[in-house]
């Protein structure tokens, strides 16, 4: 949505509030309910989506504080968007210290109000001028990112084949970026160590790939970056993570369908075209990988996913794979492939796997 669109929306909502107040009535705001009970896995769109549940917040004595904070947050957002500035959630919290009595007492409080505003307008916080605290992930490979200089507005072409052993660090907000690429796929990698190995050996060259290092569970910016890149350039996304319940149900699942507690934003922050390359439970057997026993917390995570995760429940293949892993009682890391030689992953594992992406787990 354009800047002016955002500002118009905020003004329109505030106008309704003003009108109602002057009529001697109590204004009302309507929010989608942001809890797991109001979330389903939308298989067609490929991400978690909110059901239609809404809650109303009417301005009463009980809600007056939150109501005031919501309006002040809207005002801050308008200011940020109009002035093309940004604020982290933390900064927004500190800005409130100048709001007198309406100031936030702690950041969880301000985060909640910010999420309310996001939900209220059906926009993500980046569009409203707010940015997350965390950086996004690193990129190397066959990709040119097109950004612009804030001062001059001049286009900047960032060639991700030209970083040597370094990489392009994804900015916190990516909505304005454009892309050029001749890559055949995006490979999203869990660990920095594995990413560095593939970069060091220019794996992206031979494979015609874009490598993205997620560094654990991907940040919003990282997910949004991959999503926009994949959408615009029509690229498949393959995900290479540790073969454990965390890698599957946290890292991969969050990348692909978003997170349950931010379902109102998943539309933007998920990558439905992602497919799971490995490490699969079958890989552990096929490649005779060194393993570690599953910890209690792993087993619990796996069983939780089987029982409660709408995504896992949608795919028989995942139920089978996770059940198998629990039965095997072991997990294996990406780097376990080093048992067969440090570059076995480049020389054997990835090429073998990539011969049949249709066999990747969904």
């Amino acid at each position: 949505m354009s800047k002016t669109g955002v500002v118009r929306k905020i003004k329109s909502q505030a106008g309704e509030v003003e009108k109602k107040i002057l009529e001697g009535g109590k204004p009302t705001l309507k929010f989608p309910i942001r809890s797991l009970s109001n979330v389903r896995y939308d298989a067609k769109k490929g991400h978690f989506a909110m059901k239609s549940g809404k809650k109303e917040r009417t301005l009463t004595v009980g809600t007056v504080r939150t109501f005031a904070q919501t309006l002040k947050m809207m005002s801050l957002s308008k200011e940020l968007v109009e002035q093309d500035d940004i604020a982290t959630k933390r900064e927004a919290y500190y800005v409130s210290k100048n709001w007198g009595e309406a100031r936030f007492h702690d950041q969880p409080e301000s985060d909640t109000v910010l999420e309310d505003v996001e939900a209220l307008f059906g926009m993500n916080r980046e569009q409203l001028g707010f940015i997350p605290e965390e950086k996004g992930g690193d990129v190397a490979g066959n990709l040119v990112v097109i950004d612009k200089d804030t001062d001059t507005g001049k286009k900047l072409r960032i060639d991700c084949t030209k970083f040597g052993s370094g990489a392009y660090s994804i900015p916190i907000s990516v909505e304005h970026l454009q892309f050029e690429t001749d890559a055949k796929f995006i490979l999203a990698i869990e660990t920095a160590g594995m990413f560095q190995r593939l970069v060091k050996h220019n794996y992206w060259k031979s494979a015609k790939a874009i490598l993205v290092s997620m560094g654990g569970v991907p940040t919003r910016a990282c997910r949004r970056f991959i999503r926009r890149l994949a959408d615009e350039k029509n690229l498949p996304v393959y995900v290479f993570v540790d073969g454990d319940p965390y890698g599957i149900t946290n890292i991969y699942r969050t990348l692909k369908v978003g997170s349950g507690n931010a379902a109102h934003l998943n539309e933007y922050f998920c990558v439905p075209q992602a497919r799971f390359l490995g490490i699969t439970p079958d890989d552990i057997i096929d490649y005779d990988l060194p393993t570690h026993p599953l910890k209690d917390v792993d087993v619990k995570r796996a069983k939780d996913a089987l029982k409660n995760d709408p995504f896992v429940q949608h795919y028989k293949a995942w139920q089978k794979a996770i059940t198998k892993m629990v039965k095997m009682g072991v997990r294996a890391e990406q780097q376990a492939l080093a048992k067969h030689g440090l570059n076995y992953v480049i020389d054997e594992y990835l090429p073998q796997k990539l011969k049949a992406p249709e066999k990747f787990l969904p």
Partner: protein
């Protein structure tokens, strides 16, 4: 083997086993002595229909030696009884009667006297005066432990300034301590449980502490009752039948048990398939067994209340208010119930918002049995188990797992019975009979429900106050935000603020 056997006198037995009688450490010895004397005084006054005025004095004689003096305004003691009451173990009026009384197990002041004599060689000293017109008598008394016989070593008429009453003095090896489980604590608790008591305490430091009378009602004197059929056991039933003077079972049941009328007796006998004219003296084991079964299957009224003397809800609150300042009190006096044929009842009091306590504190629990405070063995006591086992959170009170509730809370539980079952002879913990646990819990829940209402009401009141603050604090921010977003004029902003303030202040909805 056989030749060496001989009968053991009880005093001799207890001389060797004094750890059973809570004389096994010096600070407990002092406390136990005072307890036994105060219990006796209270009983004597109440039996004499006199509102008790009791004076307790503890004097330091040497580092490890104290004199305890307890004086009451009761009816005094006639000479013939003096040696028996003060000199003989296992002697007392209370043991044989089935009714509520304090030192019910008949081991009492005489044991204290014996301990004193053992540790200091000093006799028990007694003043007694039956009435203003009678003369006061002074006795000194020693116990011959081998024979369980008291020797009166002094017996003389004396001048005594008090109108009527009894005064007992015992010197003993002991140590005095303050704080929880101390004598001070015990006397304070006794004052709570006996609102009709005027108590004066002179401590070893010479400070006089006064607990005034807050109720002029003497507790109703409990009546002795016949045993209730529930819980009577086979052997006991057989013995009762064989000793009964009744000519048939019908008569036996109605005359020997309480709450058994002709109809109930008939029902029992019918269920037991026993002819009503069976002679009690001829009752055999098999028949008795059928009878016991039949009793458990028959609905019988609870035993009469008059064998019990509850403190009463009003009096309990008054007693508690003597020593605790709090925002809220709740008291409940439950109706009597029965365990093993013994009637009992439970009383519960709560005080909330107690001065000097914080939200983070654990509740203070005061336990009483037949108006006597229980100070030791809290963990083993049915009262503690019931309090801990109650789900306090339901009532808005914090509670960690398996712990006492938290908050500025005092919980008081009183178990009264014609026979309180203790877990040991030191009489510090009530045994966990299911019927007793249940009654205590019900009593606590009843009080806690009232407390819950109070707490929620309090929350609401505080919220009301907040409401006004809220309006004042946050509406300006709404005006400001709308001005910023919509570019309102200052006048318009003011109007928004004023209108909204008005709307909300008129609002009753919350």
């Amino acid at each position: 083997m056989a030749s060496k056997q001989r009968e053991i006198s009880t005093s001799e037995f207890f001389t060797k086993s004094r750890h059973l009688l809570v004389f096994d450490n010096p600070s407990k010895a002092l406390l136990t002595t005072i307890k036994e004397a105060v219990d006796n005084s209270l009983d004597a006054c109440e039996e004499g229909g006199i509102l008790p005025d009791i004076y307790v004095e503890v004097t330091t004689l040497a580092e490890d030696r104290y004199r305890v003096l307890v004086r009451d305004n009761g009816p005094g003691i006639v000479r013939a009884q003096v040696p028996k009451i003060f000199g003989k173990l296992l002697y007392g009026s209370k043991f044989h009667a089935l009714k509520q009384s304090r030192g019910q197990q008949g081991i009492g002041i005489s044991a204290a006297g014996m301990y004193g004599q053992l540790t200091t060689g000093r006799p028990v000293m007694i003043h007694s005066r039956p009435g203003t017109k009678a003369q006061a008598q002074y006795y000194e008394l020693k116990i011959n432990t081998k024979k369980n016989e008291p020797d009166i070593t002094k017996d003389q008429v004396v001048e005594w300034e008090f109108g009527h009453g009894t005064q007992v003095e015992i010197e003993l090896e002991a140590s005095y301590k303050r704080g929880r489980r101390s004598i001070d604590d015990y006397l304070e608790l006794t004052a709570i449980a006996n609102p009709h008591l005027e108590l004066t305490y002179m401590n070893p430091a010479g400070d006089e502490i006064q607990y005034p009378r807050v109720s002029d009602e003497l507790p109703v004197e409990p009546k002795a009752i016949r045993p209730h059929p529930y819980g009577v056991e086979l052997g006991a039933l057989l013995a009762m039948a064989h000793e009964s003077k009744a000519r048939n079972m019908q008569g036996f049941l109605t005359s020997e048990f309480s709450r058994v009328g002709a109809k109930v007796a008939e029902e029992i006998l019918e269920k037991a398939m026993l002819p009503a004219k069976t002679k009690p003296k001829r009752l055999n084991r098999d028949e008795a067994e059928l009878l016991v079964r039949a009793i458990t299957q028959t609905k019988i009224m609870n035993p009469p209340t008059n064998c019990l003397s509850p403190i009463g809800e009003e009096e309990l609150e008054a007693g508690l208010r003597k020593v605790v300042e709090a925002q809220f009190f709740a008291t409940v006096s439950r109706r009597p119930s029965v365990y093993r044929g013994n009637p009992f009842l439970v009383e519960v009091a709560l005080a909330w918002g107690v001065d000097g306590m914080n939200n983070d504190d654990l509740a203070v629990l005061h336990r009483f049995a037949n108006r006597v405070p229980l100070q030791y063995q809290q963990g083993a006591c049915a009262i503690t188990k019931s309090v801990v086992g109650t789900s306090w959170k339901k009532y808005g009170v914090n509670q960690s797992r398996s712990a006492l509730p938290g908050g500025p809370l005092v919980v008081l539980v009183h178990v009264a019975s014609s026979w309180v079952p203790f877990t040991s002879e030191s009489k510090e913990a009530v045994a966990s009979y299911p019927e007793i646990l249940k009654e205590i819990k019900l009593g606590i829940m009843e009080c806690a429900r009232q407390l819950g209402v109070h707490i929620r009401r309090g929350v609401r009141a505080r919220d009301e106050e907040k409401k006004r603050d809220y309006i004042k604090s946050y509406i300006p921010a709404i005006g400001e935000a709308l001005r910023e977003i919509l570019g309102l004029s200052e006048a318009k902003e003011k109007k928004v603020v004023a209108t909204l303030t008005d709307t909300l202040e008129r609002s009753r909805k919350y």
